[in-house]
């Protein structure tokens, strides 16, 4: 690499990092508790805890579950009913003033075996809500999400340029060498290079899947406007149903249509995941990979007849598969702990990068920046490395 290309990549690395670092630190710090959101919810007492029963037995009717939830919030109507992928024992019923409301939503967690109300998880307050909002959209909705996506793109640029710069900076050093006998700045530079290069594949994957998820709403919107619109086209122009039939019957119909699947969530008529005349029943597989994908089955809300069911398009399949790679929720507690350690190592890389920039003046008295190159190339590389300042 010529000094000129090193200088160019250094500028790219410096500016892409400087612009995104503050936000990436925020994402790392808020992401850390989110890795353990189940455990923290359990600890805070906000998580629904189904009691252990001698025998789990058959589930009670979903219509009963709905009646229980609605009785707690008269005046609201059904919006979604869902189950967590790792717990069949709890139905989460989301109620709202209208199927498209954004405010006034309430959630009731109901034991699927006994019909007991287990909890009323708060949807808009609490520690985890704060962490989640700061992590996803800075409380700014779609613009905030897209802004963080752009910051994530800058992180990816910083990662690529950092890998390019690894070679000139490490030419005279052994892998993993940390010069402890040199200046503090040299030591932090070596640590930055070591931790950065070793975690690079993980950080790139988590960064890229995070960026991808910032456009999730736009992709879902596109799917609703195209494929979902096509699926419900035969009902276009019909007056909305006055009332709906049995939710349990709709679920049974969807299960009969997709026999080897489990329900992930059901959208009530009138939401953006159904039509005014359908329950949108989203079924998932039961294997590690297929459990991440949900397939829409549209069921007539009055007759409980399945009217259409299609595999999600490629972009939604990719989106659903990208999520575990961002969340680290697919390998039990050991993987969560590893995710947390890698998250903290990322904070170290960001922090040391910031320090190297802030302490840029100290380099003049210290050793050459690009190890050994200064002497080898008659001082030219030293000034090239120095452009990182």
């Amino acid at each position: 690499m010529t000094p000129r290309t090193i200088r160019a990549w250094s500028l790219v690395h410096k500016w892409s990092s400087l612009v995104c670092t503050a936000f990436m630190l925020l994402l790392c710090i808020t992401g850390l508790p989110l890795v353990f959101h189940h455990e923290i919810g359990h600890w805070l007492g906000t998580e629904a805890e189904p009691p252990a029963l001698a025998e789990d037995g058959p589930e009670i009717s979903l219509d009963e579950v709905m009646a229980t939830a609605l009785a707690r919030h008269p005046g609201l109507g059904g919006m979604f009913v869902s189950k967590e992928p790792d717990d069949d024992r709890v139905w989460y019923v989301t109620l709202a003033p209208t199927p498209r409301s954004h405010e006034g939503l309430r959630q009731v967690a109901v034991d699927a075996r006994t019909g007991e109300v287990l909890a009323e998880p708060s949807l808009d307050s609490g520690f985890l809500h704060l962490m989640r909002s700061l992590h996803i959209d800075l409380f700014l909705g779609l613009p905030g999400m897209l802004f963080l996506g752009f910051m994530g793109l800058l992180l990816l640029v910083a990662i690529v340029s950092g890998v390019v710069l690894y070679a000139p900076f490490m030419r005279r050093l052994r892998f993993g060498e940390v010069r402890r006998d040199r200046s503090r700045r040299a030591r932090w530079l070596d640590l930055h290079n070591l931790v950065g290069i070793v975690t690079v594949v993980w950080l790139f994957v988590v960064g890229a899947t995070g960026v991808f998820n910032t456009v999730a709403d736009l992709l879902v919107q596109h799917w609703q406007d195209t494929e979902l619109a096509e699926m419900v086209a035969p009902y276009r122009g019909m007056a909305p149903y006055e009332s709906t039939g049995s939710l349990q019957a709709a679920l049974d119909a969807a299960r009969a249509r997709e026999p080897d699947t489990k329900v992930r969530f059901i959208a009530f008529p009138g939401t953006s995941f159904s039509s005014p005349h359908h329950f949108g029943v989203f079924m998932r597989g039961d294997e590690p990979l297929t459990s991440r994908m949900s397939k829409p089955v549209l069921v007539d809300a009055l007759t409980a007849e399945v009217t259409d069911s299609r595999d999600p398009p490629w972009y939604l399949a990719a989106l659903m598969l990208s999520r575990p790679l961002h969340f680290g929720d697919y390998g039990g507690m050991p993987l969560q702990v590893i995710w947390a350690i890698l998250d903290m190592l990322t904070i170290l890389v960001l922090g040391s990068g910031l320090y190297l920039w802030l302490a840029r003046g100290a380099r003049r008295e210290g050793a050459p920046e690009v190890a050994g190159q200064g002497a080898a190339a008659g001082g030219r590389f030293e000034s090239a490395g120095g452009t990182l300042r």
């Binding site: 993993g176 640590l191 070591l194 594949v201 993980w202 590690p288 050991p334 890698l342 190592l345």
Partner: protein
């Protein structure tokens, strides 16, 4: 040092831990049971490398 040897000296470590990360990221996603262990070992090795080189390996550089 010859070209390939120089390349291996510079990039051998990064490529090794890159591959371990990639295998760790994918294996847990595709299957459960023993593949979760592959995942933990693959990504755990990255954490271990940071700890070893960053904290423990304090041999003088030359």
């Amino acid at each position: 040092m010859s070209g390939p040897r120089r390349f291996a000296r510079l990039w051998g470590g990064p490529i090794l831990f890159g591959l371990l990360s990639a295998v760790g990221l994918v294996s847990g996603l595709l299957a459960d049971g023993p593949w979760d262990w592959v995942s933990w070992i693959g990504l755990g090795s990255v954490c271990a490398a940071c700890a070893w080189y960053g904290l423990l390996s304090s041999k003088p550089s030359r």
